[in-house]
């Protein structure tokens, strides 16, 4: 037993290491596009991991997870839009701290309200009601003419993470009250806001490094993925996570043991929403663009697909799923514009023959 789990841990570490290093190797080989692919991969892995807290741990098949990506992304897009073109001074800012705070609170609130209603239902009703709420967000965003409606909104600059007291001479202050936010594992970042790409090679000393620099941004995404995985893993094995897992298997019994799973599930719903919002925050920064199409139900479906493809039993399942999804999409679409055909066949095959997802197949393999 122990031997196998150690092996898996090593395998997981290796996988993360490969994901971390590949784009840099490709960069070194003169193929900068891979940094883009892997950034997208890591951001989707964050979203899928957040969904796996609901889907794999708590057994709650939320079909509206894309809504949080959209909310997190617009929490970047709208303040940047106002800061660039004027208006709503209370909202306008380039500050990443402000974007995060805004995105996290909006997502938490939305998850709290919709979760409180959705969690009254079960099974397929839950799937459909979460999708319904997501569709409402979609049409709300489409109706926001000020922010481009269906066309979406360009994000002119990436979120700025300079701390007000660290700013260099000449840097503007960003209108954010000095909220004492816990520092994530971010490289301290500083850049005067209107100066576009500047830094060429990684300087070893810390400031000033900008998120506009693709590799810095990639490292940020990767660090956040590790953070999310770490937290999800912690939660999964905590008292809290044990309740979620038990309720997934046998809700009746959980109640008969004196626990009403509702509030635990609601909290999980909120946490997952916040993490998905985090991936939305990264998405807006990655794409320099937000649009309602981020909230379409097919995106929620893709996230589900990633989680299940990777395997619901493992922490790294969603990471594997997101990697396979993104890379397959990339290579198949390069072979033919009709790549949805082999992709659909593959989906069928995975479901029909590959129970437990890719990780499940690996486990069976190593247990034999």
């Amino acid at each position: 037993m122990k031997g196998i789990s150690t092996i898996h841990r090593m395998g997981g570490g290796l996988l993360l290491l490969v994901i971390l290093l590949t784009p840099f190797i490709m960069l070194w080989l003169g193929k900068p596009f891979w940094l883009d692919i892997f950034t997208r991969l890591v951001i989707l892995a964050i979203a899928a991991s957040s969904l796996s807290l609901l889907l794999s741990v708590a057994g709650l098949a939320s079909f509206g997870h894309a809504a949080y990506i959209g909310l997190g992304a617009y929490a970047v897009g709208i303040p940047v839009y106002y800061e660039t073109y004027g208006g709503a001074p209370w909202l306008a800012s380039y500050s990443g701290w402000w974007h995060l705070l805004l995105g996290v609170s909006v997502c938490a609130l939305f998850a709290l309200v919709t979760g409180a209603i959705s969690l009254r239902t079960k099974g397929v009703h839950f799937i459909m009601i979460t999708m319904a709420f997501s569709q409402m967000i979609l049409y709300l965003l489409v109706a926001l003419e000020e922010f481009g409606g269906d066309d979406g909104l360009s994000v002119d600059l990436r979120s700025d993470f300079s701390l007000p007291d660290l700013s260099l001479p000449g840097a503007e202050s960003f209108g954010l009250p000095s909220v004492n936010l816990p520092s994530l594992n971010l490289p301290p970042v500083n850049l005067p806001p209107v100066n576009l790409p500047t830094v060429s090679l990684p300087p070893v000393s810390l400031p000033p490094v900008s998120l506009e620099e693709p590799w810095v941004f990639y490292l940020l995404c990767f660090a956040l993925l590790l953070l999310v995985l770490f937290i999800v893993s912690k939660l999964k094995h905590s008292h809290f996570g044990r309740v979620l897992q038990a309720a997934r298997q046998n809700e009746q019994r959980v109640r008969a043991l004196g626990i009403n799973p509702y509030r635990y599930r609601l909290l999980a719903f909120v946490v997952a929403g916040v993490f998905a919002g985090l991936s939305g925050f990264l998405f807006a920064n990655y794409a320099y663009f937000v649009s309602p199409s981020m909230v379409e139900w097919t995106r929620s479906g893709e996230l589900m697909f990633m989680v299940i493809l990777g395997g619901v039993s493992s922490l790294l399942g969603p990471v594997v799923g997101a990697s396979v999804f993104v890379l397959l999409e990339h290579f198949l679409s390069r072979l033919t514009v009709f790549w949805h055909l082999p992709f659909g066949l593959l989906l069928l095959m995975v479901v029909l023959f590959g129970r437990g997802g890719i990780i499940g197949m690996l486990k069976r393999d190593s247990q034999q």
Partner: protein, 247 residues
């Protein structure tokens, strides 16, 4: 002293009266047997006591407190726990984890997010004790779904005990057990009644007569007799309606 009491508890499904004004009283630290033919409404009654079904009329009192409107989990926390006729386990958990979770459920709220629950010594020790008590220690690492039928019944009881009930309702605990397993369970229940009140629904009459201090007989949703086991067994109505031949 009466620990659990029902007052004219009534439940109908459509036109069928499943529970007909049942007034039952369980005495402290005694085993109360509940018997009756199939379809008499025993499981429906337990479900109402446990809070899974809402009665149409009547009251349920636990230690003189009216719990009729309490939710199922709240009743468990108040000390009223049940087991299931068909084993209801966490099939992806190991045997140890099943019991550990039941212990956790009874150890205050579970809004604890950071420490690894499988390394919590208090929980593990208590779970170990319970497994020992039910003779499942050697199966602790096995998956719950891999247990034999009898072992699953034992696990079911271990989990119920983990909630430290003041009243434990056992819905056909011996069903499907071998003779040896039944015997051990009877011994265990004998010991249990030193600190717990038991409501025992069972078809195995030998087990009921061996264990029950008091006895109630349910026929067509109504109690036709209730009281001291010896008295009830002599009750001519009971003999006529249910036991058939004098025991």
């Amino acid at each position: 002293m009466s620990v659990l009491k029902t007052d004219k508890l009534t439940k109908c499904f459509g036109g069928v009266v499943a529970t007909d004004a049942v007034s039952l009283s369980l005495q402290d630290k005694r085993v109360h047997g509940l018997i009756g033919p199939n379809g008499a409404g025993k499981t429906t009654l337990i479900a109402q006591l446990a809070g899974q079904l809402k009665p149409d009329a009547g009251k349920i009192l636990l230690n003189s407190r009216n719990i009729t409107r309490l939710s199922e989990p709240a009743r468990v926390r108040a000390g009223l726990t049940r087991t299931f006729q068909i084993s209801s386990l966490f099939n992806d958990f190991s045997v140890q984890e099943n019991v550990a979770f039941a212990v956790q459920a009874n150890a205050g709220h579970s809004f604890r997010f950071w420490s690894n629950v499988s390394r919590n010594d208090d929980i593990n020790d208590r779970a170990h004790e319970l497994l020992e008590l039910l003779g499942l220690s050697n199966k602790a690492g096995a998956n719950a779904s891999a247990l034999s039928h009898g072992e699953q019944r034992q696990l079911e009881i271990a989990m119920a005990l983990a909630t430290k009930p003041s009243v434990l309702m056992l819905d056909e605990p011996m069903a499907g057990m071998g003779a040896e397993e039944s015997l051990r369970l009877i011994q265990l229940l004998q010991e249990l009644k030193h600190d717990t009140t038991l409501l025992l629904v069972e078809h195995d009459m030998d087990a009921v007569f061996a264990l029950a201090d008091d006895l109630s007989v349910l026929v067509n949703g109504a109690l036709i007799a209730s009281g001291n086991a010896t008295d009830v067994r002599q009750n001519p109505d009971v003999i006529a309606a249910y036991l058939g031949t004098p025991a």
